[in-house]
């Protein structure tokens, strides 16, 4: 199967590879996997108090399309509000990267990773608010 030029570009020069410390304030971590193929993807977002995504990092162990999907997402998502990021659909990733039908699940994985990371950030924020309340 031939990969599109955009997939190859992201695969060969992945953007924003790496990680933040999980307990760093404002960092949401999403770890998702595709059980059909055993790929795993970690997406981390650094989110401001105003709910704007300031930075994103990823680490993916999987096929070229999974790596390209997560790499593209880190570029796409920076500067977006949490709400806008949450609304990103996998179809957008499919179109941008020209993913063939057998690789659509890679884009779904990337969408799930965004939602998981935001969910983690919200959970952490909720816990902080709870402990502040308790302190008062």
């Amino acid at each position: 199967m031939a990969y599109s030029d955009k997939v190859l570009d992201h695969y060969e020069n992945p953007r924003n590879v790496g990680s933040f410390a999980k307990d760093e304030p404002g960092v949401g971590t999403g770890i998702v996997g595709a059980p059909e193929c055993g790929d795993v993807m970690k997406l981390q977002l650094k989110i401001s108090d105003e709910g704007v995504i300031e930075d994103a990092k990823f680490k993916t162990f999987g096929c070229g399309s999974a790596i390209a999907s997560s790499s593209y997402v880190t570029e796409l998502i920076k500067g977006k509000s949490v709400e806008d990021a949450y609304a990103i659909k996998n179809t957008q990733i499919v179109e941008e990267l020209n993913l063939p039908p057998v690789k659509i699940h890679c884009s779904v994985l990337a969408e799930d990773a965004i939602k998981a990371a935001i969910g983690d950030w919200k959970g952490k924020k909720g816990n902080e608010a709870d402990s502040e309340k308790k302190a008062v």
């Binding site: 996997g33 059980p35 699940h105 998981a116």
Partner: protein
């Protein structure tokens, strides 16, 4: 064998076929109108736990029965049917014989798929995948420097542990087949969980084995 109410007509004598595969009257292959499920191909009960010896015995019997060589002097429609049946029998045998394939087929037959409602990797498994993958990266980096002997030995130990855990998962899968008929929501969820784990471990082991 479960009786099938959809009787088809025998290609040879035109009488209703006794069961899906062969006409009872003359023993000629009946045209199956639709894809037969793999369990009923062998007349086995639709259960995840199957008797492998019995499966094999019936597979050989059916293979002999439908062997295309036996149909060389038959009309083309029957020849085509014997080919189709041979292919179906082979496909069904290959799927049912191997527990992971059988379980995947079982999920599909129940309208389930591995990906559905299953996007979260169990945390400990994900942590393990990331740890091992990062150590693989370290091993490659060390080898690029002309070193990496100690890392290589450590990776062999990781590989052996992964193999052992994969074996344990396969055993758990086999046990889950026995739990009930495997068709309840709980049993399907358990099968799905073990299959996912197996896939993550297999992928990881494959990556490790390509290095040591």
């Amino acid at each position: 064998m479960t009786t099938n109410t959809e009787t088809s007509l025998c290609l040879h004598c035109g009488k209703p076929a006794a069961h899906q595969l062969v006409c009872a009257g003359c023993g000629i292959v009946a045209p199956a109108g639709r894809e037969t499920d793999y369990f009923s191909v062998f007349g086995l009960p639709r259960r995840l736990a199957i008797d492998l010896a019995e499966l094999e015995r019936r597979y050989y019997a059916l293979s002999r029965e439908f062997h295309p060589d036996l149909f060389h002097d038959r009309p083309p429609a029957e020849q085509a049917e014997s080919l189709r049946m041979t292919a179906l029998v082979n496909r069904a045998y290959k799927t049912l014989k191997e527990p992971v394939r059988r379980a995947l087929y079982w999920l599909e037959a129940h309208g389930e798929s591995l990906g559905r409602d299953n996007e979260r990797v169990p945390t400990t498994l994900a942590a393990r995948v990331f740890e091992v993958q990062e150590r693989l990266e370290e091993l490659r980096a060390a080898r690029a420097r002309g070193a990496g002997e100690a890392e290589g030995r450590a990776m062999c130990a990781i590989r052996d542990q992964l193999r052992a855990d994969l074996g344990a998962s396969e055993a758990r899968l086999a046990r889950s087949f026995e739990a009930d008929d495997g068709a309840s929501a709980g049993a399907l969820a358990e099968t799905k969980k073990i299959l996912s784990e197996l896939h993550y471990l297999r992928t990881l082991l494959r990556d490790v084995e390509s290095e040591v």
